[in-house]
């Protein structure tokens, strides 16, 4: 470390030390790999969003007038595949996680920088395969690839997409493996497990799922693919094979995958709420333990996706009961976040708006999850828009709110620039309003019996569908705005100080943007979220000296 300090030049950071394309594509720096991922996941978010808009346009009218049934199948499948595998799963771990895990544990880089870069290339190959499938006709099995539809009957590009998902799995396994080893072996001196930021705990839990769950979906798709291409008969009912077995194996990963998407968002929200309430987080141990608890419990509930498949009623009851257990660690988190805000000095900066929006939306998403876990109710609303609304409240209202909140929070650290506060607040509010307008009507639609995955519907459902499509337009605007003002801030934004929010975790102790090797001087390790600490008082005093008062975003 001392060697880096001697050669430290405050004008050179990880971004501007070399702008050549080669230095970016062959970089081993975790901070630059985070950028590679940020750009790629944004592209796929746009592609997935485009398909979402097509779906909403089609459902504006009861007749199937815009898309043919077959095209509609392909559109919702592409929407699912792109959003889940290429956006949600890598979004927070591979972008914010890559940037922050080494910084937050006080390390120079992740444990295996080459594997980290390899992970991005694997992801890119998967992305190219999906785009290739899209150009050559798309895939129509739904993102779940159920057999025998995927293995025998579908005549779309199932193999290309299945291979893409298989390959992409290894990108997330490598990212997860890297984080686990980094957190275990590369922590700074005195940074014990009990002092780690809650974001790190969330990333640890997520990575466990990545490493232990992802290979199962890989082998499952491999089996289905071998059935399709080589004529092997593993799930083939004609031979006595069981398609439900495919679903068991598929959901063994894909249910925990929900936690791969939402746990990192939990981690981000913990950071945001503590930082903008300027208070020691309430129940640190409980929040940390509940992350690991969710990761473990998440593996024993998967068959609640299969209540109507003809699985054993006894097993369905067991899985229904197990599923409700998930509500416990989740409620622990929500209650502790609320308790942290209670009597804190809350400042309503943009990231905090996302965090509070997250609390509301996730609460609805989580509670409807408990409803769906109830065996009796699930039979009725299974495969209706109620389910669609539920998982969008969790995925979009939870994971994407967390992602955007995190991006807004760490943007000054990543870029060294500040963005426009007013526009970003407007955009956060647009996302919240648009989201509710889009998806709340879908709860009602589902409860009234509108099934998912159809391109046409009876006329009595139209009013609510029009609401939903109108809401989607507002939501879309809320998502497009950040692309503009954040890009603008890259070039014209005000220079950011090291710690613009006056926050406590150690990544704020290094300059913005950080130098190549992350820290100039070894970071000071304190108790987690200790907002009474001398260090933070000094930093805030320093901040107030250097920035004009109206620009101090401390509320």
């Amino acid at each position: 470390m001392s060697a880096h300090a001697e050669s430290y030049d405050p004008n050179v950071n990880y971004l501007n030390r070399d702008w050549s394309l080669k230095s970016w594509l062959l970089t081993l720096d975790h901070k630059r790999i985070a950028w590679l991922y940020l750009i790629s996941v944004s592209v796929f978010f746009a592609i997935g969003g485009f398909f979402a808009m097509l779906i909403r346009m089609e459902l504006l009218t009861p007749q199937g007038d815009l898309l043919s049934p077959d095209t509609y199948n392909r559109v919702f499948t592409q929407h699912g595949v792109v959003m889940i595998f290429l956006f949600l799963i890598p979004s927070i771990p591979a972008v914010l996680g890559n940037f922050l895990v080494p910084l937050m544990v006080g390390a120079v880089d992740v444990a295996f920088p080459r594997l980290n870069l390899l992970s991005w290339y694997i992801y890119t190959v998967a992305g190219i395969l999906v785009i290739l499938a899209l150009i050559t006709g798309g895939v129509d099995t739904g993102w779940t690839f159920y057999t025998p539809l995927s293995s025998t009957y579908a005549n779309s590009q199932v193999m290309l997409v299945a291979i893409a998902v298989f390959v992409n799995g290894f990108a997330s396994i490598l990212t997860g493996l890297n984080f686990l080893v980094t957190i275990h072996t590369m922590r700074a001196k005195n940074l014990t497990w009990g002092k780690l930021p809650l974001f790190i705990w969330a990333m640890y839990a997520t990575s466990l799922i990545n490493v232990l769950g992802t290979p199962v979906v890989a082998i499952t798709l491999l089996m289905a693919g071998a059935e399709r291409v080589l004529g092997l008969g593993i799930f083939d009912p004609a031979l006595g094979g069981d398609p439900i077995l495919f679903q068991h194996l598929f959901w063994f990963y894909s249910h925990p995958a929900v936690y791969i998407m939402i746990l990192p968002a939990f981690g981000v929200i913990s950071e945001l709420i503590a930082a903008f309430s300027r208070k020691k987080i309430f129940g640190y141990t409980f929040i940390a333990a509940s992350s690991v608890g969710i990761a473990i419990l998440g593996f024993i509930v998967w068959a609640h996706h299969m209540f109507t498949t003809g699985m054993s009623a006894y097993a369905a009851t067991v899985f229904s009961a197990l599923t409700m257990l998930i509500a416990v660690p989740t409620a622990v988190k929500v209650i502790n976040w609320t308790a942290t805000m209670y009597q804190g000095s809350v400042s309503w900066e943009t990231p905090m708006l996302y965090a509070v929006g997250f609390l509301g939306l996730f609460l609805i998403g989580g509670l409807t999850g408990v409803m769906l876990a109830t065996l009796g109710l699930d039979i009725h609303v299974h495969d209706t828009y109620f389910v669609v609304a539920h998982f969008h409240y969790v995925m979009v209202g939870g994971a994407i709110m967390g992602f955007l909140g995190g991006i807004h929070y760490w943007w000054p650290k990543m870029t060294g620039r500040l963005y426009n506060g007013s526009i970003s607040k407007v955009s956060a509010i647009l996302v919240f309003v648009g989201f509710n307008l889009t998806f709340f009507p879908q709860f009602l639609l589902g409860y009234m019996g509108m099934p998912r995955r159809y391109h046409a519907y009876p006329e009595e459902f139209q009013a609510l569908n029009v609401f939903s499509t109108a809401g989607a337009t507002v939501l879309g605007l809320g998502y497009i705005l950040p692309a503009f003002y954040l890009t603008y801030s890259l070039f014209k934004g005000e220079k950011a100080p090291a710690n613009p929010w006056g926050a406590m975790s150690i990544e704020w102790q290094t300059p913005s943007p950080p130098p190549l090797h992350n820290f100039v001087t070894p970071p000071v390790i304190t108790e987690p979220y200790d907002y009474e600490h001398e260090l933070i008082k000094e930093q805030i005093a320093e901040l107030k000296k250097h920035v004009k008062p109206q620009e101090v975003p401390l509320g």
Binding site: P237, M311, S312
Partner: protein
Amino acid sequence: MSSHGDHTNPGHQVHVSSTSMYLTILGALIVLTGLTVWVAFQDLGWANDIVALGIAFTKATLVVLFFMHVKYSGRIIKFVVLCAVSWLFVMLSLTYIDYGSRDIIKPAATPVDAEYQDLVDRGYAKKAKASASHGKETGH
């Protein structure tokens, strides 16, 4: 940057096992392989699979503990081994509770079934094949 991490063997202590120990393990594994082949041709009734898997587990344990040095590794590596084995166990056992309990609770006949049976009886509908209930598109 000073890092401490979870040092499992501080200092320069790398465990080196003796060659004779490796030879002993090799011998045990070969003997167990012979045993498992021999026992496969004996009829032990319900214990057949248990004995075969028991021998396999014994062999696996020897490889993991000695060839892979887990016996001499730190807590974290033991934890990872435990994780892998228990996750596999969760997958096997929870999948099995579905298949193992399909006959415990039979779904009650629904009015629809009765109506359908009526149609079959009157010759308006064909009896559904047993496999037709499989492979429905579902999923959240």
